[in-house]
């Protein structure tokens, strides 16, 4: 029984971390219309920076600063934000598919940099030597994981509340206005380039926060953690949950992560041995099929964006093709 609970805590922790990442992407895509195809780079920047700043001294690569953990996590968020600022200045003038390609390129470059620049983050061996905060007090077992899950859940709730407030604020309405018609927003004296950059950086800082928590949870990060697969998983979570809806983003994260782990378990248990060899590949096909299927049959996701229609407090769900 404790094994099942322990696994559920492990599952919920990972899903909650990914939900934070999906919320970051939702601010960029769902609320602002920025097609970030390089999600994993900002997630990875947060993970690497948190472990490098908060970890013990390591020979052969940067790190060992042993900074107080909350500051290290903050450093991870700042690293992701700085990277978003630079990438944003270079790419945000591009639209949709071009922005997606450019940011995807950034993510591939990031992975290659982490894989090859050993002096920076240990290369293919990754960053080790990070001691999880409060480990001496809580140990390494179930209690630690439970406490860590509660902390992650609290951060997820705080991130959700922050974004909910942002969406209904004048700034949130401005994001939607720019998403709908940039020229009209410009004609009213708004600077879409600056607003898009702010949204891109804010979303990336949230992705960096998720990456920092992910690195903390596993006390390790390597180039294998920043492969494009994670970008597609996070995108699938947002598309399935419902772009533009923060609750949809969280729901999508739990649903897709559940489907991903369940499919892995089912394949390893029931599929023929020849198929089991390709479990990872089969899972990628499943994720791709889910994205295509949702885009064809329910592009607004399971929990579509809710839009205020009248002063009587009625709301209407966003329909396909409608803003």
């Amino acid at each position: 029984m404790i094994g099942v609970i322990s696994y559920l805590v492990f599952f919920a922790t990972t899903a909650s971390i990914l939900a934070i990442a999906v919320l970051g992407l939702n601010l960029q895509w769902g609320n602002t219309g920025l097609f970030n195809g390089g999600v994993v780079a900002f997630f990875g920047a947060g993970a690497y920076a948190t472990l490098i700043l908060g970890g013990a001294a390591q020979a052969g690569h940067l790190g060992g600063y042993g900074i107080f953990y909350p500051l290290a996590l903050l450093g991870g968020m700042v690293a992701a934000g700085l990277m978003a600022w630079i990438v944003g200045l270079l790419t945000l003038r591009l639209r949709h598919d071009y922005l997606a390609i450019a940011t995807f390129g950034v993510a591939v470059a990031f992975e290659n940099l982490m894989r090859n620049a050993e002096w920076l983050a240990g290369g293919a061996k990754g960053v080790r030597g990070f001691e999880r905060p409060l480990r001496t007090a809580l140990g390494d077992g179930f209690i630690y994981n439970l406490v860590f899950f509660v902390v992650v859940l609290l951060i997820l709730i705080l991130t959700y509340l922050f974004l909910q407030r942002l969406v209904v604020s004048p700034f949130g309405r401005l994001l939607r206005a720019i998403r709908e018609d940039e020229e009209a927003a410009q004609s009213l004296g708004k600077n879409p380039a600056r607003i898009r950059l702010i949204a891109f950086i804010t979303g990336s800082v949230i992705l960096g926060l998720a990456g920092g928590l992910y690195g903390t949870f596993y006390a390790f990060v390597s180039p294998q953690d920043v492969l494009p697969t994670l970008t597609f998983q996070i995108w699938a979570m947002l598309i399935v949950g419902g772009a533009g809806n923060n609750r949809g983003a969280i729901f999508g994260a739990f649903l897709i992560w559940g489907a991903w782990t369940a499919s892995g378990w089912a394949l390893s248990r029931f599929a023929p041995v020849e198929v089991q060899l390709y479990t990872g590949s089969v899972q990628f096909i499943l994720i791709g099929s889910v994205i295509v299927g949702m885009l064809m049959w329910r592009p607004q996701g399971f929990l579509p964006e809710r839009l205020v229609v009248s002063h009587k407090g009625k709301t209407k769900r966003k329909q396909h093709g409608e803003y």
């Binding site: 309405r173 009209a184 927003a185 410009q186 708004k190 879409p192 229609v309 966003k318």
Partner: protein
């Protein structure tokens, strides 16, 4: 002689470098007047208004507004200087309510927002009645009124209107154009691109005719009404400035 509020001198501009749509186009807009730009399809009317509003780069020539050179200044910065641009279509934010659309435009008004909002609703009572509704639910004419109200919310000296009658019924077109006329009594100048030539010429003070990206003719709107040359330019039988 009244000093023009807007003056474009020999403006050359286009969407692609080295492929100008407008060639050496000049025009002036006088204060509190409606200046009309007409011409056949592809004449460069919308291109001119986009070049003035900073949405398109000007490769040569100069645009002066209220005594300052505004050539190459970004659209959002022009708004702060007193120029509002009302695009032809997609000029409102459909997923926001009417009130939210106006709030967005009024954000520079600071503490005066409630007063300004009340003034706008007084001027556009149909919008006041639907202020909590999503702008996407408005009719074509009401959308144009909302777009004009949003432009007015930025307290402009000059409004650039790109075919406000596009997609409207003749009755709605008349209402929109007549409203534009009333704005000039409040001291606002209007540069209007319009396809409904006869209706627009009745309301405008001065008119410029473009064809194939060049100035063809200009004069008081009254004098161009029923002018045979205007019809000939439209039908392509006459061009000015071509060898």
């Amino acid at each position: 002689m009244v000093e023009p509020i807007l003056q474009a001198k020999a403006v050359t501009a286009g969407y692609v470098p080295d492929l100008p749509i407008l060639r050496d186009v000049s025009l002036t807009v006088r204060p509190a007047e409606i200046t009309l730009i007409i011409g056949p399809n592809g004449a460069g009317k919308s291109t001119l208004i986009k070049a003035i509003s900073g949405l398109l780069p000007v490769s040569s020539g100069q645009i002066r507004f209220d005594g300052s050179d505004i050539t190459g200044i970004r659209t959002d910065q022009l708004s702060a200087q007193g120029i509002a641009y009302v695009p032809q279509t997609d000029n409102i934010f459909r997923s926001l309510t009417i009130r939210q659309n106006l709030d967005l435009a009024l954000r520079r008004a600071g503490g005066q927002v409630p007063t300004r909002l009340a003034q706008l609703f007084e001027q556009f009572p149909a919008l006041a009645a639907k202020q909590g509704d999503k702008a996407g639910t408005l009719s074509g004419g009401q959308r144009q009124f909302l777009a004009i109200a949003m432009a007015l919310a930025t307290a402009p000296k000059l409004i650039l209107m790109d075919e406000p009658s596009a997609g409207l019924s003749p009755k709605a077109t008349q209402e929109v154009l007549e409203h534009a006329r009333t704005l000039t009594t409040q001291g606002v100048s209007i540069l209007l691109v319009e396809q409904n030539v006869n209706q627009a010429l009745r309301l405008a003070d001065h008119c410029f005719i473009l064809a194939e990206g060049r100035n063809q003719l200009d004069g008081p709107a009254e004098s161009l009404r029923g002018n045979k040359v205007v019809g000939e330019i439209y039908l392509g039988n006459r061009r000015v400035g071509f060898a």
